[in-house]
Subunit: 196 residues, 2 copies
DNA sequence: GCTGGGTTGTACCGATCGGTCTAAGGTGTA
DNA sequence: TACACCTTAGACCGATCGGTACAACCCAGC
């Protein structure tokens, strides 16, 4: 009993790696069983809903991680520029330590999209909203804060795609550095209806 | 005989839709057969290498399309700014008419990456190289042309991810418009280490 | 030691996978 | 019209899919 409740979170972490490596369809139960070290019996004991519940648990865990480690710090009191810098650092180290795979991004492009549409949408909506708040606090106008937030989150996803496609891990951090520079150092493009 | 050579290209077009809709793993032979209207016999007659050869034929067709319709026009003689504008229009209408799916981007994020790594890499390398050339002709320094080309192609991929994740098709064109504005109207950011 | 409830590995299920093969059907040439 | 050829549909193959069932197992409380 006491072991059970302590082990499901561990299983979720292992599952996250497996889904990142193989995708949803590619992660067969035999693969999952092998990589988590859990038999099917244990897996269906933890996740009665089967593979779909496993994936939902993983997405939920990731979303929670971002919420507490990225979105909430982003809108917490403090210098907005610093908060944003921390967001870039958190995102960079998170994805670098996970083979440059964002499960939500991968699911959004794959056939997993319909099944997990709500969770995928929530993840990006929350991220964009938090960044938009921080950007507005940093002095950008509402419209520009919104656009910049979308473009930045979008840019991070694009950097993941390109870096993986080119097989150049280090290109990812370079892209993030440029994305960061774009929104910290206000450019002359900033004239889009903004007072700063 | 004469029908055979005329029908394989048609099959490739149908296959492209199927792979876009279901992904590589999700496109089972029964699904492929149903959506293309071809029996397994016909499919293996056209593509003896099976599903993998079907996917390679599709990737090849898409890559050829971009090469002739995007990359080559991009570096053809003419006003670089106009060429770049045409690239954005071609990319926007291409992806809009295909459910905002870039097969190469989707494959890069999925488990198809290893199998088709070379084709995926080639697609993005060619695109970035052509855009970099056009940007340099438009007056950007070499380093900045390179960075801008990467950021723009990356930005398009990110826009596909975000637009699909949010379920907002129209957001895609808006993102592309902003990406375009960024590289046409030279900003004060332009001073970023170009001299080297 | 027992015993009993919860946890586990695994045999097994029907369905479906990618791929093979063959017999029927269609086509072009004479 | 008749023949030779080739395309085609679909039955069939072993393997594996996601999921279920169940028997062996572990370890508290007595």
């Amino acid at each position: 009993m006491s072991r059970t409740i302590a082990e499901r979170p561990d299983a979720v972490l292992a599952l996250a790696n497996t889904f990142r490596l193989h995708g949803f369809e590619g992660a067969s139960l035999s693969v999952i069983s092998a990589e988590t070290g859990l038999g099917k019996g244990s897996l269906y004991n933890f996740f009665p809903g089967g593979k779909e519940e496993m994936a939902r648990a993983v997405l939920d865990e990731v979303n929670t991680w971002f919420r507490t480690r990225v979105y909430e710090p982003l809108v917490a009191p403090g210098e907005p520029g610093t908060r944003i810098a921390e967001m870039f650092e958190a995102a960079a180290s998170y994805f670098e330590s996970r083979d440059l795979v964002c499960l939500f991004g991968a699911f959004a492009l794959g056939q997993e999209r319909e099944r997990f549409a709500a969770a995928i949408r929530e993840y990006f909506v929350e991220w964009i909203a938090a960044l938009e708040t921080a950007l507005a606090r940093a002095g950008h106008g509402p419209q520009r804060s919104h656009d910049l937030a979308i473009d930045t989150v979008s840019g991070i996803q694009g950097a993941l795609v390109i870096s993986r496609a080119l097989g150049e891990t280090e290109a990812f951090r370079a892209s993030l550095t440029r994305l960061h520079a774009r929104i910290t150092r206000p450019s002359s493009n900033d004239d889009t209806g903004d007072v700063r």
